[in-house]
Structures are given as structure tokens and as C-alpha cells.
């Protein structure tokens, strides 16, 4: 036989990477996400002030832009006293230290909430998509209801009644986000379950559970992973909103949403810095996660 009827190593893998390149935006988004991840790890340890110690003057404005180069030089060369780069807030907490320490909180809430939502949604979606019976139908109807829940209000109820703690926020968000994954997973499992590979494996004598877990599950995770990126972004926003109505994380934990909502009214008094800097940080982060989700989606589709 000749090699004419099969090609080894198609070029398919090359353009996939090339497609990722697509927008310059992708790089920016990727860098921001990396930076945020990095800050989540080292943020608190590199912040010039303890982000929870309130002993500075309240409402110190950030230094003038023209003074930054000099101050920066002084800071880097180890001379001079630490500077409140982004000013201080109503309590006299250092805004800069809090902005760079916040990713640890925000990301752990968002990532954990998303992770638990996946933990609930993925198996449920797999069950519902692969084994279609009245039990899984009921599961879907329950998931419908969960999905029609007013997410924000429900999160608030859970947090307000169960107590304002990170654990409760994570739990609330996880429960409320899981139906999205049930749905996505189920749809994808139904497509994947109809593929020949399933039939082939069944013909080989694999058990249904083995097929579901070994073939269908891994091949169905794509859309959920794409969605994860978006969900993580939204979870960060939602946490911020919860803080605004007083059901967010516990102060003085450095968290962007809390900073924005506590500082928001300061805008009216001309004290913009306590909320604008975390505002920029949150926008940039959510934007980058969304952009990354978009890139992933395009990569997944092609």
C-alpha cells in the first residue's frame, strides 16, 4: 500500500496556534490574566503597606503624576519612606497595597466558586446528557428553576442569612452558577454521546459508566472550560455588587468590589482614588477573562 491514502501529521496543529495570535488584544488579555494570577500569589507580600492596617491619614490623595518618577526612583533605590501610590481611603488604609493584594481574595472566590459550580454541574450534566430517563429529566427541571433564580438576589439572601463570609459567597455562587454548566455539559454530552466512538467502545464491551467517564466526559469539557473564563469574570463582578449592598466579603479584607463600593460615594466629594483604582483593576480583569474566553471559544469552534 502507498501512503497516498493517509497523511501523517497534518498542518492542522500549526494554524491553531496562529489563530490564537489573531488579535493583539489576546496578548494583552493573556498578560493581564497572568499578572493577576501572579499578584494572587505574591501580591500581599510585595505590597508596601499592610493592606489591613489603618494607621495612615485618611483620604490622602495619590502623589502628583509629575512626582512619580522621583518617588519611584527613591522607592527602588530603597531610600525614602514608602509612598501611598494610590492614596489612602476613609480608614487610612493604603489603596495601592489593597489593590495589589485583592486578587488573592477575588480570584479565590471566583475560581473556587467556578470550580465548585463545575463540580456540581459537570457530573450532573454528564448524567443528564448520557443517561436520559425520568430521573435526569427531573434533574433538568430542577436546574431550570435554579437557572431562573434571580442570581444576585439569591446570592444576597444566602450570604445575608448564612453570614457574610467568603465560604458562603463561594457556596452561593457555586450553586447559582452550576445550572449553566449542567446545561452546557448536557448539550455537549448529547452530541458526543451520539458519536461513533461511543458505539465503537460499546461494541468492544466497555460498560456504560466507563464510556461516559472515559470517552464522553473528556470530549465534552470544551464548552464548559470556555464558559469558565466568562464565569470567573462575572463572579468577580457579582462579588463587587454584593459588597455594594453590604453582603460581600468581610472588611477590611482587600477586595476590589468592597473597595469600589466603599469608595464609590467618595467620587461625589472629589475623592475618586479609593474607588477608581480598584475599578480599573476589576474592569481590566473581567475584560481580560472575557477576552480570553472569547479566544478559547474561537479556538474551540475551529
Amino acid at each position: 500500500m502507498s501512503s497516498a491514502d493517509f497523511t501523517l501529521i497534518r498542518e492542522a496543529t500549526v494554524p491553531r496556534l496562529r489563530r490564537l495570535r489573531g488579535h493583539g488584544l489576546t496578548i494583552v488579555a493573556g498578560l493581564v490574566v497572568l499578572a493577576i494570577l501572579l499578584l494572587a500569589v505574591i501580591g500581599p507580600s510585595i505590597s508596601p503597606f499592610d493592606p489591613t492596617v489603618a494607621d495612615a491619614e485618611p483620604f490622602l490623595p495619590p502623589p502628583n503624576l509629575s512626582a512619580w518618577p522621583g518617588l519611584l526612583w527613591a522607592a527602588l533605590s530603597g531610600a525614602g519612606t514608602p509612598v501611598h501610590w494610590f492614596g489612602t481611603d476613609a480608614s487610612g488604609l493604603d489603596v495601592f497595597s489593597r489593590v495589589i493584594s485583592a486578587p488573592r481574595t477575588d480570584l479565590s472566590i471566583a475560581v473556587l466558586a467556578n470550580g465548585f459550580a463545575l463540580l456540581i454541574g459537570v457530573p450532573a450534566g454528564l448524567l443528564a446528557g448520557y443517561f436520559r430517563n425520568w430521573g435526569t429529566e427531573t434533574l433538568m427541571r430542577v436546574s431550570d428553576v435554579l437557572q431562573s433564580f434571580p442570581v444576585f438576589i439569591s446570592a444576597m439572601i444566602l450570604v445575608a442569612l448564612a453570614g457574610q463570609s467568603t465560604v458562603n459567597i463561594v457556596a452561593a455562587l457555586a450553586v447559582l452558577y452550576s445550572p449553566i454548566y449542567v446545561r452546557l455539559m448536557r448539550a455537549e454530552v448529547m452530541t458526543q454521546g451520539a458519536r461513533g466512538m461511543v458505539e465503537a467502545s460499546r461494541a468492544l464491551g466497555s460498560s456504560e459508566v466507563a464510556i461516559a467517564i472515559r470517552h464522553v466526559l473528556p470530549n465534552s469539557l470544551g464548552p464548559t472550560l470556555v464558559q469558565s473564563s466568562v464565569t470567573i469574570g462575572f463572579a468577580i463582578l457579582l462579588t463587587a455588587g454584593l459588597s455594594f449592598v453590604g453582603a460581600g466579603v468581610r472588611p477590611p479584607t482587600p477586595e476590589w468590589g468592597l473597595m469600589i463600593s466603599n469608595g464609590a460615594s467618595g467620587i461625589m466629594l472629589g475623592q475618586w482614588w479609593p474607588s477608581v483604582f480598584p475599578g480599573i483593576a476589576i474592569s481590566l480583569t473581567v475584560f481580560s477573562f472575557a477576552a480570553l474566553g472569547d479566544v478559547l471559544e474561537r479556538a474551540y469552534r475551529s
Partner: protein
């Protein structure tokens, strides 16, 4: 439009029934006091330096009462009612209205027996705990107005006390629960299921003899009043007053600054401070009866340790809290009752910020350098009301920063008002909390003692920190029925000294009750319920 007033508030009344479910909300009380007319109040003392008119607590004056007589031997009060007072509905005020009001209080038919409570506190005959008896017959019998309250004629009522108790008279001034209903109007809306018209008062109107009548009320949004044209003290200057709910403090602030509202409330000190330099507006404030204190629960280890409590008292950064938390509009609180109240006793040696002393006391308490406190991490969760983050945030941050500097493992624990209330009042399990909302509404040191400090066994009511000191209780037993004012004052002063020594509360600051006003609005008066009286406002 000169006679219009727009007040921007954090909320509007949720109900207007003094025995209704929302009576504990200040914004609800604010609505009631405009329409309910009290029996007495206090003569004004003249404005303070910011323009606020304060009362002279030594000069009670009649409102619905023209005069009153007290017979100490018979323990009876003869109330002479004012003639020619007309309600919003045009009904004339008579003894029947007062009898109705007391009868309603005794019926304890509302969600909360608030009116009953103040009369019970005043030892009025017939106002006993029997009304709550689980034996229905006993309860029903107790709910009938007996000879404790007697109508003599249309303008005279006699009230019988069971023991010497000055609190009856003090409490008469508490408009929100002792104000008098327009009985005719109320009875019009009574139903078989609701003979005391709670539904009507909660949801529709509060008919009374006050300065204002309800015009329109949309719960959760706004309430507007018209001046009562029949008001016996003369029609109010502001004919039309609207209170609008604006949840965002910042919006209230900027709207006042643009001149589109005449009055705002519920800002934090920093925000009020920012109004001071603005054109066309002013801020009026009074160190009235609001104070902030730290509660350390005697049932929660290690707060049962007096040395530790004292160490904490010396560690509190009083000055920073005055400056950062209240923009200077506060002062250190050196007693346990408001310093403006008669009978206030200043601490002989006030606690001050003294870290050396704090450290020494900490060591004495058995925790040198904070060692060993880590075991009590949970106890050091500093609770406060999460809705008050804007005001309390800087305060609790200052406290926790200061205490952590002494290696005391403080964390912050904001909880919703409701939950806070539940744990403070019912469960009494708040270990470590910051509180800025408890004030004795009755202007009397004894009222404060009974309400906050006396143990349950000795007839105390609230005692959120589970403080029980037989010495204090013994003094109260005497003071409660002390007929001689001087002797009573002495006993109450002793009690205050004991409380401060024991750090039963850790008083931190007294802060100003403030309002933002258009500079055209004058005459703001202060009443112990901290609600402004629109009637007193003038150009």
C-alpha cells in the same frame, strides 16, 4: 414654594403603628413623631453654636396636657387635658382619646407591646406581665383597663401607680409610644379581627393631633405631609413636607448641594464635614445622646477578665477615632450615659490611649504581649452592623489596627442589622462588638440603668453583655423606688462609677447627631429620639 421642604432620608416609614413591626426603625419613628402629639415635652434652651435648639430637661412643659398633679401618698397622677385641640380629621381631643390610647397599649394586640412596655416601666396599675399569660382567661382579664386609669370628665384623667416611680413622667415625653391617637378616627377603621386598627395604622394613616397630617405615603419610596390646619399651636411654617428615600448617601449629599433638597440625614461624619464649605448649605449637630461603645460579653472568655477589659480600654485610639471616624465631630465618652442627660457622672480617671498601661494590664491579665490570646481568636471577632459600614468602617479599622498592634487577634465581623439585633438583644451572645445605636430615650439615668445594666434578676431589661453585679443590683433596688431625688441621684451616681470601674461597657466616643440643611432653614430642635420635628423648622 417657600413653604415646601424636601428631606432626603435613607428610608421612609415602613409602618405608622407605634405597636407595629417596624417601630424599632428610626426612619419609621421619624414619621410617627410628626403626626402623633405627646402629652408633655421640654422647654427649649436656645440654640447651640451650630444652630441646633436643645431642650432643657429640667423644664417639662405640657403639650396635650395643660397641667398635671402628682399625689405621692396615693401614687396618683391627675392629668388635666388641653381644651380646643383638634385632630387632622377635625375631631376634638378629649379624655376618651387618652383612655383609648392606654387601652390599646394594654391590649398588647400589636406586633410589639411597645406602648405597654413604657407604661409597665412606669409602674402603672394594671400594666402587668399577666397580659402575656399563657392562660387565656388570665391574659384576657389583664387586658381590660381597670381602675389604674380613670376618666373623671372629658378633660381629666387619673392614673394610678403601684409604687414610687419617676419613670412614668419621664416616659410621657416619649412621643413614639406615648403619643395620643384620635380615637374616633381609629375606631372608624376597626374590624372584628383587628379591633385596635393596627392594619390601618400600619398601612394607611396614623390619626392624631400632631402638627402634620399624612398626605401621601408610598412605602419604601416617599412620604409627604401637610401641615395640620387645626393644630393648636398654630399651623406649621412648612405647609408641605416630603421625605424621599434616597438609599445612596452620596446622592443625598450632592442633591442638597444643588439646592434641590432642603435637608438631608443619614450621612457619615466625613460627608457632613464636606458640606461645611459648600455654598448655601449648613450642617447642624448636637452632642445629644448618641455614643459609640465596645461591648465585651461577660459570658465570653477571656472578656470575663477585668484586667483584659481594662487593657483594651487603654489601647483604644480615642483621638484617632474622633478624627478619622467622626471628622472631629465627637469627643471621648467619659461615662455610660449621655453627658447631656441630667445625672450623668464623669469617670473619675477616664481611660486614655496609653499603650504602656495597656501592655502592663495585658500582662497582669495573664497574656503578656498577647501570648495565649490566639486560643480566643473566635472571641475577638469584632461585630458591627454591616449596613453602617460607611460610618463604622473607619472606627473598627482603627480599633482593630490598634489592638492587633498589641498582638490581640482581632478580626472584623460585620453582620446585618437584624442578625446583630437578634444576637445582641435576644441571644446576648455577641462576644466583642461595636455599638453606636443604643441610647436611653427616657431622659433619666435610672431609665438607662434599668434598660442596659441591671441584671435580669433585679428587673433589668436588656443587659446585652450579661453583666451581673450584686452590688449594682442592690443599689438599683433602692434607687428604683427612692422618693427623694437627691438620694436617688447619689445611688445612680454610685452605680455609674461601678460600671466604669468594671468596664461593663467600654464607652468610646459621644458623637454628634447631625443634619445637613439649606442655609435658609432654621429652628431645628433636638429631641431624644433624634428625629427632627418639622414643625419647628422655619425660614
Amino acid at each position: 414654594r417657600a413653604a415646601d421642604l424636601l428631606l432626603l432620608a435613607e428610608d421612609v416609614p415602613s409602618g405608622l403603628d407605634p405597636d407595629g413591626p417596624s417601630i424599632a426603625l428610626p426612619t419609621t419613628q421619624e414619621g410617627m413623631v410628626q403626626m402623633l402629639e405627646p402629652l408633655i415635652d421640654y422647654e427649649p434652651k436656645g440654640p447651640n453654636d451650630s444652630g441646633f435648639v436643645l431642650p432643657d430637661f429640667s423644664k417639662p412643659r405640657g403639650r396635650l396636657l395643660e397641667a398635671w398633679d402628682y399625689d405621692p401618698k396615693a401614687l396618683t397622677w391627675t392629668l388635666h387635658l388641653r381644651k380646643g385641640v383638634k385632630s387632622c380629621a377635625g375631631n376634638e381631643f378629649t379624655a376618651d382619646d387618652l383612655i383609648y390610647t392606654y387601652g390599646r397599649a394594654l391590649s398588647t394586640s400589636g406586633a410589639v407591646p411597645n406602648a405597654w412596655f413604657l407604661l409597665n416601666m412606669g409602674s402603672i396599675k394594671g400594666f402587668t406581665n399577666d397580659v402575656f399569660s399563657t392562660d387565656k382567661a388570665v391574659a384576657d382579664a389583664a387586658k381590660k383597663l381597670g381602675d389604674g386609669i380613670k376618666k373623671i370628665d372629658d378633660y381629666t384623667v387619673v392614673v394610678q401607680q403601684t409604687e414610687v416611680n419617676p419613670l412614668y413622667f419621664v416616659n410621657m415625653a416619649v412621643t413614639i409610644s406615648q403619643g395620643v391617637f384620635d380615637a374616633k378616627e381609629m375606631q372608624k377603621h376597626a374590624t372584628a379581627a383587628d379591633p385596635w386598627s393596627h392594619d390601618y395604622a400600619n398601612n394607611v394613616n396614623l390619626p392624631s393631633f400632631g402638627a402634620y397630617c399624612l398626605e401621601r405615603w408610598v412605602k419604601d419610596s416617599q412620604i409627604s405631609y401637610r401641615a395640620n390646619p387645626n393644630y393648636y399651636r398654630g399651623k406649621a411654617f412648612y405647609d408641605h413636607v416630603v421625605v424621599k428615600k434616597v438609599p445612596e448617601a452620596a446622592n443625598r449629599l450632592v442633591t442638597l448641594r444643588t439646592g434641590q433638597a432642603q435637608m438631608v440625614q443619614g450621612l457619615n461624619a466625613h460627608q457632613y464635614d464636606s458640606l461645611k464649605d459648600a455654598k448655601g448649605v449648613k450642617v447642624e449637630g448636637v452632642l445629644g445622646n448618641e455614643g459609640l461603645f465596645v461591648v465585651m460579653n461577660f459570658k465570653t472568655k477571656p472578656f470575663d477578665n477585668i484586667k483584659l477589659r481594662q487593657a483594651i480600654a487603654y489601647a483604644i485610639p480615642y483621638e484617632r477615632i474622633v478624627q478619622v471616624g467622626y471628622s472631629g465631630q465627637a469627643k471621648q465618652w467619659e461615662g455610660v450615659i449621655p453627658s447631656s442627660y441630667p445625672g450623668f457622672v464623669k469617670q473619675a480617671q477616664p481611660y486614655s490611649t496609653d499603650l504602656a498601661k495597656a501592655k502592663a494590664l495585658l500582662a497582669e491579665a495573664g497574656f503578656p504581649d498577647g501570648k495565649g490570646l490566639d486560643a480566643y481568636k473566635d472571641a475577638f471577632k469584632l461585630s458591627y452592623v454591616s449596613e453602617k459600614e460607611a460610618t463604622l468602617g473607619p472606627v473598627v479599622n482603627a480599633i482593630s489596627t490598634a489592638l492587633r498592634a498589641l498582638n490581640i487577634p482581632v478580626t472584623l465581623d460585620p453582620i446585618p442589622q437584624t442578625q446583630y439585633g437578634d444576637r445582641q438583644i435576644v441571644k446576648k451572645d455577641l462576644g466583642f462588638a461595636v455599638n453606636d445605636q443604643e441610647k436611653p430615650i427616657g431622659v433619666d439615668a435610672g431609665y438607662a440603668m434599668k434598660l442596659f445594666f441591671v441584671s435580669k434578676e433585679a428587673g433589668g431589661i436588656n443587659n446585652m453583655m450579661n453583666y451581673a453585679n450584686p452590688e449594682l443590683d442592690a443599689l438599683w433596688v433602692k434607687a428604683k423606688i427612692e422618693g427623694d431625688p437627691a438620694a436617688r441621684n447619689k445611688e445612680l451616681a454610685d452605680m455609674q462609677n461601678i460600671l466604669m470601674r468594671d468596664v461593663a461597657w467600654l464607652p468610646v466616643v459621644e458623637f454628634k447627631t447631625q443634619f445637613g440643611l439649606s442655609d435658609k432653614v432654621n429652628g431645628l430642635t433636638w429631641v431624644t429620639d433624634n428625629s427632627p420635628r418639622f414643625y419647628d423648622l422655619k425660614n
